[in-house]
Subunit: 298 residues, 2 copies
C-alpha cells in the first residue's frame, strides 16, 4: 500500500500499528524509532522491521510518517525530522488533542508535506510495546482532521490505511474534535482520577475493604484512571480550555445531585436518573457497547 | 436446605434468587410476592413456585423471608408481614444501605425473628424479573450484617445459603457497610449520573458525535448511570450522610485536578495520575477485575 512507512514512538499505539502493518503487509519497508533503549531492544528482538537509532534517518524516503508519541514531544520530533521528510509524503499522528498540535505544525511550516491528523479511539489501560496487539484498531473509530488545502487523494489514502487496520473513519475539524473528545474522553478521565483518589485513601482503615468490594462501581473507574500518566498530562494541558469549560458544567450537575440528596428530594433524583438511563439505550443502539451484563467479565 | 423460603419483591435480584433456589433445590416450598401485576403474570408463566396475591400470606410458615424490593418499601412490607412471620425464622434483605433499614426493624420490634441483613454486590444495569438469571451471585461478595445477639447457627445458615448461590460472604457492621459502600458504589453512581448528564446535552449540536465516540471513556459511565432509578433514589436518601461526606472529599480532589490544569502544572498532574494507576494493580491483585483489555468487549 505504501512503499515505506515510518513510526515515531513505539508504545501501545505505535507498536500496535507496527504489528498490523507487518501482518497485513501494508508497506514494503517499515522503519521505527523510539527514544527509549528498552523499547528499542524489545523491538529488535520481536520484529523484522528496521529499528533506527537516529530519528531523522528513520523518516528518509517514507511515504507515510506516523507520530505515535506523547503530545509534548511533537515539537522536538518535528524539528528533528523536518529536513528529512520526503516531499509529497503524508505526515500523521495518533494524539488525543488536535488544536495545539495543529498550531505547532503550522508554525514549523513544512514544505510540500501533507499533514493529516489521525486519532484512533482505541487503547487499553496498559502502555509500552509489550502491550500492543495488531487488532487494537478493529471496529474502532479513527477521526481524521485536516485543512481544506490538503489533496483529496492523500486524505483518501490515509483513510484507506486506517480502514485496512480495521477502523471506521470520520472527518472532523481540529476544533470540533477537541470539543467532542473533551466530553467523551477527557472529562471521564478527569473524573475517574478524582474518584479513585477519593475512594482509595491510604490512611483510611477501610482501604482493603474498598478494594475488595470495588465491583459495585468503583472498579470501572480504576481502569480509566490507570491510563498512561504522561499521555494524559499532555492531553489535559493541550485541551485545557475545553476541559475546564466542561468540568464547570459537570460541577453544576454534581451540585444539583448533591442538593437533591441534602433535601431528600425524591422527585428531583428520579428525574435525573431517568434522563441518564435513556442515554444508555442510545449508546447501545449506536453499536458503541454490548448489552452483555458486566461486559462479559468472569 | 430450608423447608420454605419466601421472596418479597421479584425484580432483577429477587427473580435471580428465585431462579437459583429452584435450580439448586434449596427449598421444598417457595412463595413469591410482588405488588406489580405485570411481574406476577410473568412469574406465573415462567416459574413453578407459588405466586401469592397477598403479601402476608406469602410469608406464612417460611423459614427464610427475603425482602428484595426498594429500600423505601421496607416499612410498609414489614408492617404487612410482621404478624405472619414464623417464630424462630430468618428475615433478610438485599438492600444497598443498611443503617436506616436496621433502625426501622428495631422500631418495629419483631418478636423471636432473626434479622440478618444481606447485601449481594451483584447486579446489571437492567431491572425487572425478565433480567434475572440464576448465576448473578456467582463469585460475587455478599456482605452480611447483624447484631451480636443473633444466634450463630442462624447466621451460619444464611451464610451457607449465599455460598450455595455461588457468593463469597463477609460480615460487616451496619455502619461500616454503609461507609465502605458509599465509596465503592454510591459515589461512583452519583458521579456517573453527573457525567452522563454533562456529556449528553440534548441541545448540543454534537450530541450524536458524543454518542458515536463514547468508547473513549464515557461509555463505561453510561452503564452505571442506567441502573434502576427508583432503587438508587432510595439509596441516596438512606445513606445521605456518608454520601454527602464522600462527595465533599471528591469535590476537593476534583478541584486539585482543575487547578493543576488551569496552571498547566505538569508535575502535579503526573503525581495525581501515578497515584491512581497504582490502585488498579491492587484491584487486579484482589481478583476484582480481569486484565483483559476492554473487559472482553467486542
Amino acid at each position: 500500500m505504501f512503499n515505506k512507512i515510518s513510526i515515531i514512538g513505539c508504545g501501545l499505539i505505535g507498536s500496535s500499528i507496527l504489528r498490523a502493518v507487518e501482518e497485513k503487509k501494508l508497506a514494503s519497508k517499515l522503519s521505527v524509532f523510539d527514544k527509549s533503549s528498552h523499547v528499542n531492544s524489545y523491538l529488535k528482538k520481536n520484529f523484522s522491521s528496521e529499528v533506527c537509532s537516529n530519528i531523522s534517518e528513520a523518516v528518509i524516503d517514507s511515504d507515510l510518517t506516523i507520530i505515535a508519541s506523547p503530545l509534548s514531544s511533537y515539537k522536538e520530533i518535528l524539528l528533528s525530522i523536518k529536513a528529512n521528510l520526503k516531499k509529497d509524503s503524508i505526515l500523521t499522528d495518533t494524539g488525543s488533542a488536535k488544536k495545539e498540535v495543529n498550531k505547532i505544525i503550522k508554525n514549523i511550516s513544512l514544505d510540500n508535506i501533507h499533514w493529516i491528523a489521525s486519532h484512533p479511539i482505541a487503547g487499553t489501560e496498559y502502555s509500552g510495546p509489550e502491550a500492543g496487539f495488531s487488532e487494537l484498531f478493529k471496529n474502532r473509530w479513527c477521526i481524521l482532521s485536516t485543512d481544506k488545502e490538503v489533496s483529496k487523494s492523500k486524505t483518501s489514502k490515509l483513510e484507506e490505511f486506517w480502514i485496512k487496520l480495521g477502523s471506521k473513519t470520520k472527518f472532523m475539524s481540529f476544533e470540533d474534535h477537541d470539543y467532542v473528545l473533551s466530553l467523551t474522553s477527557h472529562l471521564p478521565h478527569a473524573v475517574a482520577y478524582s474518584i479513585v483518589k477519593t475512594a482509595i485513601n491510604n490512611e483510611d482503615k477501610f482501604k482493603d475493604d474498598v478494594i475488595q468490594y470495588s465491583a459495585g462501581g468503583l472498579r470501572d473507574f480504576t481502569r480509566i484512571a490507570a491510563s498512561d500518566p504522561l499521555m494524559w498530562k499532555d492531553i489535559f494541558i493541550d485541551n485545557s480550555d475545553n476541559i475546564l469549560k466542561v468540568l464547570d458544567n459537570y460541577s453544576k450537575n454534581l451540585d444539583e445531585i448533591k442538593n437533591a440528596i441534602k433535601n431528600k428530594d425524591s422527585k428531583k433524583l428520579l428525574e435525573i436518573f431517568a434522563s441518564t438511563k435513556k442515554v444508555r439505550k442510545e449508546i447501545i443502539e449506536a453499536g458503541q457497547d454490548t448489552e452483555k451484563p458486566d461486559f462479559g467479565r468472569k
